[in-house]
Amino acid sequence: MRRTLLAVLGFSVTVFLLVGLKSGPVAQVLGWSAESGLGPDDAPVGDPGVGLPPLGEPNNPGSAGPTGTPQTTPSPGATPAGPSGQPTTSPRPGKSTTTTTTSNPPPPPSVTVTGAAFAVRTAQTPTTKSSSCRDCEDYTIAVTITVSGGRITGTSVTYNPRPGGESGSLASRANSKLSQSILSAQTWNLGRVSGATYCGNAWELSVRDAMNKAGLPV
């Protein structure tokens, strides 16, 4: 009995140490953070070009075509940062996605603008995943904002594909939070919102793009 208790204790301590070694502060002290590279979603917010790989990258599993029912009208300012040469060619035929913006001109005074879709990589690893992603944790988010009178009055999100499992539950939870924050702050730049580390960045970038298109100050 004493032996098993010792084993449980030893195991717990090991787990604690392992988690500790991977935690931010310790990693900084050890000088590991630079070498290992943060996951794409952990890139500092407000630095959009670095944070997320652009859509249309060949093995981006999320590039499965726009799901939004509205007609897609390519708009010039919509292409996010990234190698602009080859974004539309995808190895899988029929699945290519141009980084399109869906603008659905509703009757004034309120305008609905959809931002470009941005990839969310829940795997957090900087390396690209194999194309046979089983659970498809990788997905894209396109945020549609409703603007009336120069203010954002509503948001909605389109996923492609819809994430399942833990990603899905986290995403839907994050949405309500992010939406509230954006409506109250009237800016895309929210900083970290708890529970939104996975998709927060993509959210912000998409909103930023939509605000751009709607002519709001970014």
Partner: protein, 451 residues
């Protein structure tokens, strides 16, 4: 009936490298499982309590998944494992690891739930519902946890001893369901395994390996063995008032690669007993003419065995066990037996070199079995047999089993391998005395069964 024609064949002493290798690979596997987590977790990604808890949950999940596989593997009865690690140690490790497994799985579950609840700032109850409803295969994983905890509970010694063995066994077999039910969520929701990369393949490979061993050890090997040898009861002979020997006949019997000291799990295909299999050691070294097991009638099943008719078909699983002469570290040996524990000891005596000492304790003269055989073997092998008659508290046995008594009988005891078989009290008391006499632990061999 007894006719020892077998010549003494000095057996090569086998190295213990394989055993060390098996133990080392267990630890390597555990480290490897946690390493999968390590390489999937970017440094510095743990920024708050919630993510810390989730990562801890992932580590415990990987460890639990690995230990579950090891648990099943250890009980697969696959030959290479059964002949490397003693059934005693396997059983002990299975018990200890089983406890660890239950603890680890419960930790895994609670850490993940609490971690996500913290991260998404909802109550634990709400988070649990979300996980059960929206995560793939989470319901079956929860059922698996329930079964595992249940199996763990009925394996607590106090509870287990109050249940009939067969019921306990059936309940315990439901752990195969755990293997099945917990499989899905590991690959559907486990971050380390979901991506279809090398980690996924290695992990799935572990499953295939364990299942292959299981099929080999529990199905293929017994099937092949029994189709080949077609065992039958040849005779049942009384050895004393309540001890009897069953002689077994087989085809190609000289090809049964069993050693003295090993055991089979025997299933006698007769009315009322075909559905249970019980382990018994061989009580004579295989001699190419018959196999023999010796049984003390203590329970319902063993009482029934006494009335077996010659010709009854026998299904045997084995041979298993490392209580054999080739596992010794030194040249000479001391054999110690009490009661019907003499059975495997009597067999071992045939395969040990000259100068072996046998200490055989029985509570009365009429309880001694194999007396003629032992005396005869002693003559042939120049062995020394010391009969210790009397109850444990009597002065004679107490003296013989004391430090001084043992040293008088076997002056070079610390330079011998000691093989022990008998009731638990006898074995623990003897091991304590042997340890006091500076017999290294690795020179002490225990029979896997208590007699």
């Amino acid at each position: 009936m007894f006719d020892p024609t077998g010549k003494y064949r000095p057996l090569p002493r086998r190295g213990h490298g394989t055993r060390r290798l098996v133990i080392a690979s267990f630890w390597a596997g555990l480290v490897g499982s946690v390493a999968l987590w390590w390489f999937h977790t970017p440094t510095g990604s743990i920024v708050d309590v919630g993510s810390g808890l989730i990562e801890a949950g992932r580590i415990t999940g990987m460890a639990a998944g690995y230990v579950l596989l090891v648990q099943v593997l250890m009980m697969s009865r696959v030959g290479w494992l059964d002949r490397t690690i003693s059934a005693n140690n396997l059983l002990g490790a299975h018990r200890d690891l089983g406890f660890m497994l239950v603890v680890t799985v419960l930790l895994h579950m609670s850490l993940i739930v609490v971690g996500y609840a913290k991260l998404s700032e909802v109550s634990i109850v709400e988070q649990t519902t979300t996980m059960l409803t929206s995560f793939e295969d989470m319901v079956s994983a929860t059922i698996a946890t329930g079964i595992l905890v249940g199996v763990g509970l009925v394996s607590i010694r106090v509870i287990r001893s109050r249940m009939p063995y067969e019921l306990w066994h059936v309940l315990h077999l439901s752990t195969y369901l755990v293997l099945l039910l917990s499989y899905g969520h590991q690959f559907a929701d486990g971050r380390e395994l979901v991506d279809g990369g090398p980690a996924t393949w290695v992990w799935a490979g572990g499953y295939y390996l364990v299942i292959a061993c299981l099929v080999q050890g529990r199905v293929l090997h017994p099937l092949r063995f029994n189709l080949r040898h077609r065992l039958r009861v040849a005779d049942v002979v009384a050895e004393s008032q309540d001890v009897f020997s069953i002689y077994i006949d087989a085809r190609k019997i000289h090809e049964i690669g069993a050693r003295a000291g090993q055991f089979f799990r025997w299933r006698f295909l007769a009315r009322g007993m075909w559905w249970q299999a019980h382990p018994f050691s061989l009580s004579a070294a295989p001699n190419g003419r018959w196999l023999r097991l010796t049984v003390k009638a203590v329970g319902e099943h063993t009482e029934q065995l006494k009335w077996l008719d010659p010709g009854v078909r026998v299904i045997a699983e084995g041979p298993s066990g490392v209580f054999t002469a080739d596992r010794r570290r030194r040249y000479r040996a001391l054999l110690m037996a009490a009661g019907s524990g003499i059975a495997p000891i009597r067999a071992l005596l045939e395969e040990l070199p000259r100068g072996t000492v046998v200490i055989y304790r029985a509570s009365s003269e009429s309880d001694l079995i194999f007396r003629e055989e032992l005396d005869w073997l002693a003559d042939m092998r120049e062995a020394e047999i010391v009969y210790v008659i009397g109850r444990r508290e009597d002065p004679g046995p107490r003296r013989a089993m004391s430090r001084r008594g043992l040293r008088e009988i076997v002056p070079d005891v610390s330079r011998r391998d000691v093989y022990l078989c008998g009731p638990e009290g006898f074995v623990t008391a003897s091991v304590a005395v042997l340890r006091q006499l500076r017999v290294p632990r690795r020179q002490i061999h225990l029979d896997p069964f208590e007699f």
